[in-house]
Symmetry: C2
Subunit: 374 residues, 2 copies
């Protein structure tokens, strides 16, 4: 039942070298990469246990026996120049790490990824020092292979939502809608949901931005917020659409229309070199001018890639600047207990002079579309 | 479509007190609980950010603004005597933690749960020292409320497998079978899958114990290993059944029959006070006597509860002893590339003189059962 798709290759080659250069600029002669998302981005390795030592010449992945063949296969497929060393016990893996780091004087390591126990064990024999962002900086600019996976993930979520949105009001619970969405994303080729699908309905639930789908039955008059994405070959999509079940009231229509204008203003603002805080302000200021300041209780967007939430973050506190190749959400929302809520969220690729919207689901009106005709 | 079930309450009351006693025995006048599974088990709080300080008198949960109302509601529902303090920034949360730990001299903290960055930040102002297992020891003995949730999760997986196993050989891929299982578990009332469902088929894939469901089409003659569990109100189930598509060969029948005897020997061995290593040996020794020693390439079992893998672990290296109330898997398997593989896994509740098997799916023969007649 599932469609399997071939994607363009991801450009792993050069990532280790670029990391080495960034580390040298900061005075490190080596890097210990332990965050598994960073390990995957750097080498293509997808196992649940792996650490990479990057040296002036060469790099070594240390993993355990379960991944002996898979690690070698994945690194070869990625075209990455990195040795694989397999330790069957924690002690063996530690020894291999010490050997791979031999001769290095100052190794940048991820203090936010290693547990305190892991850090103290490694630091006893290896000269590690905390360094932040060395890899995640590199992860921001998505290449064509990464964009293709994210776009296909967007298509899976679009297709599932097109099938399920017309079922709102058929007596389904929030959990039923979530189940149908996740099932149908897989049928359209996704590996699974990108995160726990949010289906929030009615005057209380839809007013909570991070509501989990409950056993509440969706009824006429409800506002419904559906936040759904697909996972494809490690890459995520993220989208929100909002609906009214039955005929919308004037107030519902007015607030939805206002939010649509706000979200469009966010999309219009996006371009490389814009401060992420300015992106947030593009939506937030408009909302405040409209008199809805206290209806908007989260930030405007975030990066999406191998993680569903990653750099950059567009909030009032952000100090980051958008770059071409960032994939970010634009997702203002308006919430009030008693009314319910709406959120409209698109995923976009940042370009030098604007953005390319990757989400295709309709958002003109708060009404479920008609069932797809196929 | 989903059945919502009422379960007996989980006995949260007394857990904080018992933890305080265990800590005092080890010379600590306080405990900092940061592992989120431990926080949930101790207080009923299910949010993604929370730390609990347990003192001689009283306890405090520190969390962020998202969870202000939910934390108070969940702790009240759990009947737990613990204050809630909300900090809107990391700095505020840190201050609240320092205040909650005021006057304490020696606080046991989880060095395997806090990142190195978190540990050093906290340790600058709070006298924490690494301590292992204080909470996870307590988590082993499941109470009636916990068992009820795990049993219902077993029923969801049993029901889904009864529907899907007869579809093996209908031209489905491994990924299709996984999707159907996960969809149907939800329809039977599960919150979701307990872990990434394993569907491993044929001479190569079924020979890998931790294979991920791929786009391979399952065909006549294949051995098929299906490892599937449901998640219900935070609690997991875990089960494996193995099949042959079409008419089994004599070799397939013989190896399956042998494994069934091995697995029964494992079940027969389980009782409180048995060493977890002896449980492993009950299966492993029999397999070796049968001449299949190198076909069994993983351990025999593990605990299941709020985590899919938790204490105790039944392997050749285990030093733990089973206690009444442990919920553990018994899951020997036989694998060889070219042949494929079989694994049979039941989930059991350990009792003083044996065990109660929670899994109900048939395992007499390696043939898919007939479709359920409803």
């Amino acid at each position: 039942m599932t469609t399997h798709t071939e994607f363009p290759a991801i450009g792993y080659a050069g990532r280790i070298e670029a990391l080495r250069d960034r580390a040298e600029e900061r005075g490190f002669d080596g890097v210990l990469v332990s965050d598994l998302t960073n390990v995957r981005w750097l080498t293509g390795f997808t196992g649940s246990n792996g650490k990479v030592v990057v040296r002036g010449a060469g790099a070594t992945l240390v993993t355990d026996g379960r991944y002996r063949d898979r690690a070698a296969d994945e690194l070869a497929a990625a075209g990455v120049d990195c040795d694989v060393e397999v330790g069957f016990t924690h002690a063996e893996q530690h020894e291999l790490l010490v050997r791979a780091a031999g001769g290095l004087d100052q190794i940048g390591a991820e203090a936010t990824s290693l547990t305190h126990r892991q850090w103290t064990t490694i630091a006893a024999d290896v000269p590690i020092e905390p360094v932040g962002g060395l890899v995640s900086e590199g992860r921001r600019r998505k290449d064509a292979g990464e964009i293709a996976r994210i776009e296909f993930a967007c298509r899976c979520a679009d297709a599932a939502l097109a099938e399920v949105a017309p079922m709102l009001g058929d007596g389904l619970t929030e959990a039923d809608v979530r189940m149908e969405l996740e099932y149908r994303m897989r049928r359209h080729g996704a590996d699974g949901p990108s995160y726990d699908t949010i289906v929030a309905s009615g005057p209380e639930h839809a007013a909570r931005p991070h509501h989990h789908a409950s056993h509440r039955t969706i009824v006429e008059g409800d506002t419904v917020v559906i936040d759904v994405g697909a996972l494809v070959d490690g890459y995520h999509s993220d989208m929100t659409r909002s609906y009214v079940v039955g005929e919308p009231t004037d107030e519902q229509l007015e607030i939805y229309e206002f939010l649509r204008i706000v979200q469009q203003a966010g999309l219009d603002a996006v371009r490389a070199d814009l401060g992420a805080r300015e992106l947030d302000a593009a939506c937030r200021d408009l909302i405040a001018e409209g008199g809805y300041a206290d209806w908007f209780i989260h930030s405007t967007g975030h990066g999406v890639g191998l993680l569903i939430h990653e750099d950059p973050f567009a909030s009032t506190a952000s100090t980051q600047t958008l770059v071409a190749g960032d994939v970010v959400t634009v997702e203002p929302g308006l919430y009030r207990v008693g009314f319910g809520g709406f959120r409209i969220e698109d995923l976009v690729e940042v370009t030098s002079n604007g953005c390319r919207v990757l989400t295709e689901s309709p958002k003109d009106a708060p009404c479920p579309p008609s069932p797809p005709t196929t």
